[in-house]
Each structure stands twice: as C-alpha cells, then as structure tokens.
C-alpha cells in the first residue's frame, strides 16, 4: 500500500488552527489520561483486597492516616527526595529511547559507597565539603556503572534492557560485598556500615523534619527539564528518542549521545542514593533494596516523560507508599502488595491510552523510538 493514497495530495487535509477551546480540551484530555488510570488501579486494588478477604476501606484509610495525617506528610515528603531523583534519571534515559533498567544496582552501589566512606569523610572534612564530595562520589558511581551497557549499545547496538539488568544484579552483589567487607561496622555483628550520627547528616528544611535532599531533588528535576527543552543536547536527545534514523540524518553523533545520556541517567540515580543515605538512613544494610525504581517507572510514563509533570505523581505515590507500609501490615499482607498496585496503574494506563486515542493503532504515546528500542538489530554496527 503506498503512502501516497493515504496522504492524498489532491484532497489535501488541512489541519485546523487550534482554537482556545480545543486547547482546553486537550489539556483536559491529558489530565484525564493521567488521573483515571490511577483511580482505576486503586479500585482494582480494592477489589483484589476483597478477593483476599481484606477490607479495602481499612487499607486505604490507613494509607491516608499514615501517609498524611499527624505530620506523616513529612515522611511522605522525605520519601519524595530519592524518588524524584530517580524519576529524573529515568526520564532522561527514556526520552532518548534508552531503557536504563539498572537503577537498582546503580542506586545500591552508590549507596554502599556513600555509607562506607561517609562516616570517615564527615569527620575529616568540614561538613558541607564532605556532603558535596559524597554526592559527587555517589553520582559518579551511578554513572560509571552504566558504562558497559552504554558502550555495548553505542558500538554494537546491544539491547540495553538486558545489559543494564545484568550489571544491576552484579552491582547489588558488589554492594553487599562492600558492606559486609571493607565497609562493615566493626562494632556490630549485623552486616551494615557505620551509622552516621544525626548531627552529621543533611540539615533539615527549617520548620520541618524534611532533609534538604528534597531541595536538591527539585533542583535536579528543574535542570533536567531545562536541559531537555532548551538546550541543543536535549534536542539531540529527543530526536534520538523519536527516531534514531532521523538523528543520523541530522548529523547527531549517536555514539557519543548514547554514552552521555547513560552517564547522566546513572549520575542522577547515584545522587538519589546519596540523598537517601545522607538525609534519611545514615547507614546501609546488606541485602537492602528499597526498590524505588520499580515503583517510579509507571509514574514516569504517566507523566509522559515530562520531568516537571512527574512531580505531582511522585508526591501522590510517596503518600501511597508511606501510608502503605503501615496499611499492608494492618491488613496482614506483605509490602509487595504496593508493587501490585503499581503494576495495575501501568496496566490501566496502557488501556486508557488505547481507548482515548484517535490516532491509528500501532502508534504509542511513548516517544516512537522507544518501542523500536529492540528493533534496531543487534548487528547494527554501522555507525553514522
């Protein structure tokens, strides 16, 4: 079938200039597409609870109580810090059609380094300097850990989903080895690092218990937004994400771009580990994995890979998760139930997207290049 028939010149379709009401309609459309999946997922989760003979009202009620009331909103806000940074890191990668799924490993490795070197650094250096240094170390750790997947993809087109996942598993084991080995707290038998005294952790935002890591997170989100929408690097990134072939046509150095995107993504994820350790925990345990990345992914998609747009979603999920910790215990279920809710959100999002679409089937709401991520053959060693 030739394209000519479908883009008929002789009866050229003219697109109407968007009127103000059309714009408002589109905005409403976007809002609906983002909110409805969440609502549906919560309802479906409630049904699932009923099926397991648990009371959904108790569950969601407890979520609200433990997530917002009585100052609990501050705990939710604290959770936002690492989540936002990871969301920023994932947004950068996904917009470029790069599936950096190694966030767990990147996070844990950076966390191990920060909690291992943290205690001695804060004692030897002025606090502010130590913090900056630790954040940089964490970012670099995350970035460096993306190098192998980055090079494999840039040079051989190797599928990065696999490589980032595999390196992630390696990093998780490596982090454990570090925590149990050189970073082990010599004064205790539990496998964990030394604990930072509260006075040596990130200062709080005045008037709250929230550490300033949250401010760093907001700053990072804004930087990502600016970079993507206004800089030439961001434009090249978006072109590569929309269409790698066109990127070549426009002279984008794909190899270099792939590597820089990976590094940026890994760096942000490393930063999130620093914020979490230095702001909240103060130490790291072996075999610990808060699984932030898994739960952030759907919201990154829901926000249409928009770094600013993801903030309200992360806020929502922070409340849900903080409240959910106690709520799942209340109904006697493992905390993994939250993963189910998250998966439901993803699922409903894809369905709503399909239902609400007026464009022909087969096009995706994601940058078109993302779904081609694995189409580019592994044998693509031709470079442009």
């Amino acid at each position: 079938m030739t394209e000519a028939a479908l883009t008929s010149e002789s009866a050229a379709a003219t697109v109407e200039a968007p009127t103000r009401s059309a714009f408002a309609l589109r905005a409403l459309d976007v809002v609906i597409r983002s909110i409805v999946p969440v609502i549906l997922a919560l309802i479906a989760g409630g049904l699932l609870l009923l099926a397991l003979s648990r009371n959904p009202l108790t569950f969601y009620g407890q979520v609200w109580k433990s997530g917002v009331e009585n100052g609990a909103w501050q705990d939710s806000a604290i959770l936002m810090a690492p989540l936002l940074l990871i969301a920023a890191g994932l947004t950068v990668a996904f917009r470029a059609n790069i599936w950096n799924l190694g966030y767990s490993g990147q996070f844990l490795l950076a966390a191990a380094l920060v909690s291992g070197w943290g205690p001695s650094l804060v004692q030897r250096l002025p606090l502010a300097v130590a913090f900056v240094l630790l954040f940089v170390i964490a970012g670099l750790a995350g970035a460096i850990w993306t190098i192998i997947p980055a090079l494999l993809k840039a040079w051989y087109g190797t599928n990065e989903i696999i490589t980032t996942l595999m390196t992630s598993f390696i990093a998780i084991d490596l982090a454990n080895i570090l925590i149990k080995g050189p970073f082990q707290d010599p004064t205790v038998t539990i496998p964990q690092t030394r604990v930072l005294p509260f006075s040596d952790m990130l200062p709080s935002i005045p008037g709250t218990r929230i550490h300033c890591g949250l401010l760093i997170a907001f700053a990072a989100v804004f930087v990502v937004y600016y970079a993507l929408s206004r800089t030439s690097w961001g434009l090249r990134l978006r072109i590569m994400g929309a269409n790698p072939r066109a990127a070549r046509h426009f002279g984008v150095d794909l190899k270099r771009l792939i590597v820089t995107v990976f590094l940026a993504s890994g760096f942000l994820i490393g930063l999130s580990a620093a914020a979490d350790i230095l702001g909240l925990w103060g130490y790291a345990r072996a075999n610990w994995n808060p699984d932030y990345g898994d739960t952030v992914i759907p919201f990154v998609f829901l926000a249409r890979l928009n770094p600013l747009g993801v903030v309200p979603f992360i806020a929502f999920f922070s409340v849900l998760s903080t409240g959910g910790d106690l709520a799942t215990a209340e109904v006697n279920l493992p905390t993994d139930f939250m993963l189910v809710l998250v998966a439901l959100i993803l699922l409903f999002m894809t369905i709503i997207e399909w239902l609400g679409r007026s464009r022909p089937l087969g096009t995706s709401y994601l940058t078109p290049g993302l779904k081609q991520a694995l189409r580019a053959p592994l044998a693509a060693r031709r470079s442009g």
Binding site: M1, E3, L6, L52, W99, I148, L152, W155, Y156, T158, N159, I161, I162, T163, L165, M166, T167, F169, I170, D173, L174, N176, I177, K180, D294, I297, P298, F301, L333, P334, D336, F337, M338, L339, V340, V342, A343, L344, L346, L347, T350, I351, E353, W354, P360, L361, G362, S364, L366, L370, K371, Q372, A373, L374, R375, P377, L378, A379, R381
Partner: protein, 316 residues
C-alpha cells in the same frame, strides 16, 4: 594453595555435581528460553518473561503441594504462564500497545502478586516439597560421573529434550514454522499471503507463556522444592539472552541453557568441593558470564526486523 584447589576440583563428586546442578538450573532456563525463541521468531518480544516464570513457579508449587504429584504442578505452571501471556496477546498483539511497557507491568505484577499470594496462603512459612523421583536409564546410569548426573534425571528432563527436538522440527519443516518466521521478518508479506498475523503471533505468545510457566514450575517444584518470592532472580531475562544468542536455533538454546545453568549452580558445586567463596561472589557469576557472552557475541546476534513492532494492516 592452588594445587589444593585444583585437587579439590578434579574429584568425581565435583563434576557430578556440576553437571547435575547444570541440569537442575538449566532446565527451567531451557523451557523458558525455548518459549521466548518461538515468540521472538514471530516478532513478539516478551520482556514480561520474568513475571510469567514467577506465576508459573507459584502455580506449579501450589499444584505439586496440594496435588501431591509433580505433574499437576507442571500443568498448573503451564496454565498460569499461558494465562499471563494472554494479557500480552490482548494488549500487544490485538490492541497494538507497547510490548515493552506491558512486559514491565507483567514482571512487576508477577513479583508483587505471587509474593502477596504466597504471604496470604502460607503466611511466614515456606513449606518444602519432597524430593522428586527420577527415571534412571538402565545401562547408562552406571557410567562414572555422567551416570549419576546425566542419566538419573526426572522424566520431565527427557521430555524436555524431546520437546526441543520437536520445536526444532517445527521451525524447519512446517508451515507453522514458516509463518512464524514471516511474522517476524515482514508481517505485511504474511498478511498479503493470506495468513493472519495476529493469529500467528497470538499463538506464539501463548506458547511462550506456557513454556515460561513450565520453566517456572520446574524451578519451584524440582530445582528448588520451594517457593519464595522473587525466586527467579532474573532468570527470565537470562532466558531472553539465551533466545537472542541462539538466533532461533533450538539446539543452541539447549547448549546455552546448560552453560548458564552451570553458572547458576556453581555455588553449590563449589561448596561440595570444599571451596568456600562468599555467597555474593558466587551469585555474581551467572550475570558476569552473561555480560561476557554479550560482549563476545555482540556482533553476531540477530533479531528479526519486525521484532517488538505491532502490526496493523494498512497503517504505517
């Protein structure tokens, strides 16, 4: 020190355990990877394989635990896997939604749901299944090393080998195999030849789910004898790598599965040989070997051109 190491490695016991362990860990991989090979050939990329394996593992465990026979476990696993892949079929093949996003959702759901169900069913206990009976081959079992490891395996293993052969035959000499190939290479051509691309891909995806479920069931029922949350630990993704490296050749799936199975089970074998490496180091081995394999074979993997692309008649 190194000669002590060497002498410990040369024992029969060590090699027997390596081979046996390789099979134990490799069979789940083999089934799953075989299924994935079928899907990939048809242009469907199943990132949700990990989730399907988990569903199969849990269902298989339940089936064997309550049904008191491994075969019910296997059947349950197959059913669970196929049911999960039905989601994939409806959302991706029929509705043309993004295969990767749906795959991620299935994996997250797999981990979360099975963990929740396990907790709901068994609370904090993790019941164990008894050892699985084997079907030893009469004469061959007397061979040293190979006898006890290769030829005293549960009947499912031999069945599995037969299945591999059948799949290879289907790929090579049947219309089904040709249709699968066409769906992956150039679905428009298949459509124009009058064969439904949707149907072809749907059946391929369902078969993959069934195989993955079987792989998961074998894992929990035979290899581990237990179900713990996230028991697959990334084996679904390893299976995807195996499928990619094998380029659609069933025989290669067998070989790679065994090789990675050895990597996965090396911890136990080393312990038997008296070599004590930390668990974390040994855990890394399979993943490091995957990366190594990907680096070495980076240039030569081949994926069908229409992989992961939804096909819609008449649209571009």
């Amino acid at each position: 020190m190194s000669s002590l190491l060497a002498s410990q490695l040369v024992t029969n016991v060590f090699w027997t355990s390596v081979i046996a362990g390789g099979l134990l860990a490799g069979v789940p991989l083999m089934f799953t990877a075989l299924g994935e090979a079928i899907s990939e050939r048809a242009g469907v990329l199943n990132i949700g394989l990990e989730g399907m394996m988990l569903f199969g593992a849990y269902a298989g465990f339940l089936g064997a635990y309550y049904g008191h026979t491994v075969w019910l476990g296997f059947l349950a696993g197959i059913g669970a896997g196929a049911a999960t892949s039905l989601f994939m079929v409806v959302l991706c093949v029929w509705l043309g939604l993004d295969q990767i996003v749906v795959g991620i959702a299935i994996t997250l759901a797999g981990g979360g749901i099975t963990s929740v169900l396990q907790g709901a069913e068994f609370g904090n206990t993790y019941p164990r299944l008894g050892a699985v009976s084997t079907a030893p081959i009469p004469l061959l079992r007397r061979l040293p090393v190979l006898g006890r490891s290769l030829f005293e395996q549960p009947p499912m293993v031999y069945l599995g080998l037969a299945i591999v052969a059948v799949v290879a035959w289907v790929f090579r000499s049947t219309n089904v195999g040709l249709n699968l190939r066409a769906a992956g290479e150039k679905p428009e051509a298949l459509d124009q030849a009058g064969v439904s691309v949707k149907a072809t891909r749907s059946w391929a995806a369902l078969t993959t789910g069934a195989f993955a479920g079987l792989g998961g069931a074998y894992l929990s029922v035979v290899s581990a004898g237990i179900f713990t949350p996230f028991i697959t630990q990334g084996q679904g993704y390893i299976a995807i790598v195996i499928a990619m490296l094998s380029r659609g050749r069933a025989g290669l799936v067998l070989i790679f599965s065994f090789a990675f199975g050895v990597a996965l089970s090396l911890a136990d074998s080393l312990q038997i040989a008296g070599i004590n490496l930390s668990a974390d180091v040994v855990n890394m081995i399979p993943y490091v070997s995957i990366i190594a394999a990907l680096i070495i074979f980076a240039r030569s993997s081949y994926l069908p051109p229409a992989l992961a692309l939804p096909y819609v008649r008449g649209a571009r």
